[in-house]
């Protein structure tokens, strides 16, 4: 490209500038600090703004040039033991900067979830409105993200949740996280609010804030396709929100790579509140292990374990997570019609086996560097195609609302992905609405002409799922989540939620330890903070009696701590069906070159758990919120193998507090804080 006129002028400045910032709205503005004005060495800042209409021709050229300059100036290399690099973007001002995390902190919090939580604790005072510009939104990768470690493609999205008012911390896979790490940034921390719709384009060591008015209103697939076309590259990776995030549905999610979701706690609504439609990443820096040969050996050994283990090598690849439908239903803990019972009489019609036998399952697919490949690629006789349903989604849009029509379930699942909504909260809010309707709280005239909100109605399922996502009619009220909805009718007990977040697909009346895990989860109703189903139902790593309460507190604590480690490393929790704590220790030390002992690594998990707890307390959490819906504590399971049981939480919770080193009010004691280096928080 020829260089003349304005460009030449610009280049002149660029070549001699030492520091610059830029932002793009209707115009592109460069702020050069320290520009030498003459040969005598006089320097001053220089501001330059040009309307974007001029830029079409030479914008790319300038970007390329800036990228070169930038690379020369800043070695953007994600090497082992390198400092964690945080890209700060303030959408209110358009300003950006790079921050390096103190190594002591990185070692203490590992990365991903841990480092993200640490950063939240340094930013949030406590009383911020989750949908205000003050609430930061973090995309955080772990040390293993983007490496060859099996399932090393996971990342976390963190903020204060608009659904629970507590810590939101949602994990996702796909290809986005690994690509983000390759840009040379480990964490993107987004604050403020843009005046108009924008998206971030992050490449090797560079960030651009670009206009996204033309993308606003598009669903997640349209957004992803448009961005790839606009950027002219199929290899960029994209995380975006759909209409639900734009409209701040309290359980809106962030969808990356079209089919993977940072699903829970409303992280998509926070992204929408910032007028941020998408984050696009493209990088070329492979994270380098501390000792490549040794790390490759460690990885090879773990890959073999994952391949030969019957769960991760066979069960998950062939049937995906939906292998659980029958297991949990036969066990009598498959929550049906808003947890009114634990046996769904139509499970045969909607289970994972049926998805295969009916021919809807086309193939399995995996996230980055994943040998397990549990994702389902499906297509329906209606002609629609997509991914899912997974176990949780299939249940929330199936048994939870009493629907036995696998096509409707899958369609509703596709809709959630397109609109950008968490399937669990969506299904369970609908289930709550159905119970409210059947019990006479929601009146017919409130339906705005929509279908009757009856359990089992596939018509209602698909209709209200859409209404929620676009906030129309009754959807406006449903978009607030089940607790706010039920409360508005004076019937909060019909919301099957913990701390305001809807419960997932296991009735804890049949799995006591899972009940404790729900009640104490730092993000409310959630199964992936301590997956007690593994020992209590599946017999992994050993079989525990699901109705026993003794010893469960200790199990829950260990699972919570280890899960925090796995999440922070950037690996998928599903590896833990085959791998043990020693394996994670080996992988972590092997890549980073650190020399964690087992105790130290587990202490990191415990530290992260306690920091989340402290943050929640700062946000207003009290011990009485460590509980379950009344139904699960006081209404005996009416039928099936778990008939007659309730959750005996009071037999486990005090012990749990004690083991955690918390006082009777659930507050970490000063001894505990000292031990975990959390005194200053």
């Amino acid at each position: 490209m020829g260089v003349s006129g304005k460009t030449k002028f610009l280049l002149l400045f660029l070549r001699i500038s030492t520091k610059w910032q830029m932002s793009i709205r209707e115009e592109i503005s460069f702020i050069f600090k320290n520009v030498p004005l003459s040969n005598k060495g006089k320097r001053r800042p220089c501001y330059l703004s040009l309307p974007t209409v001029y830029l079409d021709e030479w914008r790319l050229f300038i970007y390329k040039l800036i990228a070169t300059l930038n690379r020369q100036r800043q070695e953007v290399k994600a090497v082992a033991l390198a400092k964690i690099r945080i890209l700060n973007v303030d959408l209110s001002t358009g300003g950006t900067n790079i921050q390096e995390l103190d190594e002591k902190i990185s070692k203490r919090y590992i990365g991903g979830r841990g480092v993200g939580t640490y950063l939240l604790s340094t930013i949030l005072k406590g009383d911020e409105d989750p949908l205000s510009p003050e609430n930061p939104l973090l995309f955080a990768t772990g040390p293993l993200t983007g490496t060859t470690a099996p399932t090393g493609g996971r990342y976390m999205v963190l903020c204060k949740s608009p659904l629970t008012g507590l810590v939101a911390c949602s994990n996702s896979g796909g290809q986005f996280g690994s690509e983000l790490r390759r840009t040379g940034f480990d964490v993107i921390c987004i604050t403020g609010r843009s005046d108009s719709a924008v998206y971030l384009y992050v490449t090797d060591g560079l960030v651009e804030i670009r206009g996204a008015a033309h993308l606003w209103g598009l669903d997640t697939h349209e957004t992803t396709d448009s961005l790839k076309e606009e950027i002219g590259s199929d290899s960029v990776k994209i995380a975006c929100i759909g209409p639900a995030g734009e409209k701040k549905v309290r359980f809106a999610c962030i969808i990356n790579d079209k089919h993977r979701a940072a699903g829970r706690s409303g992280v998509g609504a926070v992204m929408g509140s910032k007028n941020l439609k998408a984050v696009v990443v493209k990088g070329s820096h492979r994270p380098e292990p501390h000792n490549r040969d040794r790390f490759m050996e460690i990885v090879k050994k773990r890959l073999e374990i994952l391949k030969s283990n019957p769960v991760t090598g066979q069960g998950l690849p062939s049937l995906g997570t939906k292998v659980l439908d029958n297991i949990i239903n036969e066990h009598g803990a498959y929550p049906t019609r808003n947890f009114q019972t634990g046996v769904f009489e139509h499970t045969d019609e909607v289970c994972g086996e049926a998805l295969v036998e009916k021919g809807y399952l086309k193939k399995n697919r995996g996230c980055y560097a994943c040998p397990i490949k549990c994702a389902r690629v499906t297509s329906l006789p209606t002609g629609n195609k997509g991914e899912g349903p997974e176990y949780e989604s299939g249940w929330a849009l199936g048994a939870a609302v009493g629907v036995e029509d696998l096509i409707a379930i899958t369609e509703a699942n596709y809709l959630c992905n397109l609109l950008g909504m968490d399937t669990i909260s969506c299904g369970m809010t609908l289930a709550c609405a159905m119970e409210l309707y059947e019990k006479g709280y929601i009146k017919k005239d409130e339906l705005d002409g929509g279908p009757a909100l009856r359990f089992g109605s596939s018509e209602a399922l698909v209709f209200y799922t859409r209404q929620m996502g676009v906030k129309e009619g009754l959807g406006k009220r449903l978009a607030e989540g089940s607790l706010r909805l039920a409360k508005s009718y004076g019937a909060s007990e019909l919301s099957m939620s913990v701390k305001g977040q809807e419960l997932p697909a296991y009735d804890p009346r049949g799995v006591q330890g899972q009940g404790l895990s729900y009640a104490t989860s730092n993000r409310g109703g959630c199964h992936v903070r301590a997956y007690m189903i593994a020992p209590e139902v599946l017999g992994i790593p050993e079989k525990l009696d699901p109705q026993a309460t003794e010893g469960k507190a200790q199990w829950v604590k260990i699972f919570q701590d280890l899960t925090a480690v796995i999440d922070s490393m950037g690996m998928c929790l599903f590896t833990s069906f085959a791998l043990g704590a020693e394996d994670y220790l080996d992988i972590l030390n092997g890549f980073t070159g650190h020399d964690y002992t087992m105790e130290e690594m587990m202490e990191c998990g415990e530290r992260i758990w306690n920091l989340e707890r402290l943050l929640n307390i700062r946000f207003g959490l009290t011990a009485d919120m460590d509980t379950l819906p009344r139904r699960l504590l006081h209404e005996a399971m009416p039928q099936g193998p778990q008939k007659g049981h309730t959750v005996r939480l009071s037999e486990m919770l005090p012990e749990y507090y004690k083991i955690r080193g918390w006082d009777n009010d659930g507050i970490p004691s000063s001894k505990t804080l000292e031990r975990l280096d959390l005194k200053t928080v």
Partner: protein, 95 residues
């Protein structure tokens, strides 16, 4: 006696059997016997191996008798009676 056997997961996909009624002359048998019987069938040979493996209890097969995990009862020696239901899952996980 007659025992209802339900087969799930990859075992079901491999054998094409989702449920069958097993007729056994005895009045009650240990679960191990039932697994041996089922293991004769095509696609279910893994169950034979499971029944033969004396340490098989530690394998994460999920075997439910009337919805109760037999490993919380007497493992493969758990007594199965007429009219009861056995659900058999290969090692599975998800979430």
């Amino acid at each position: 006696m007659a025992v209802e056997c339900k087969i799930f997961g990859t075992l079901r996909l491999a054998s094409g059997i989702d449920r069958l009624l097993l007729d056994i002359p005895e009045k009650s048998v240990p679960l191990r016997r039932i697994l041996e019987e089922l293991g004769q069938r095509k696609g279910l040979d893994e169950l034979k191996k499971l029944a033969q493996n004396r340490n098989g209890e530690s394998l994460p097969f999920i075997l439910l008798l009337q919805g109760k995990n037999v490993f919380d009862l007497d493992g493969l020696e758990t007594v199965v009676k007429d009219g009861q239901r056995v659900s058999i899952f290969p090692p599975s996980g998800g979430g």
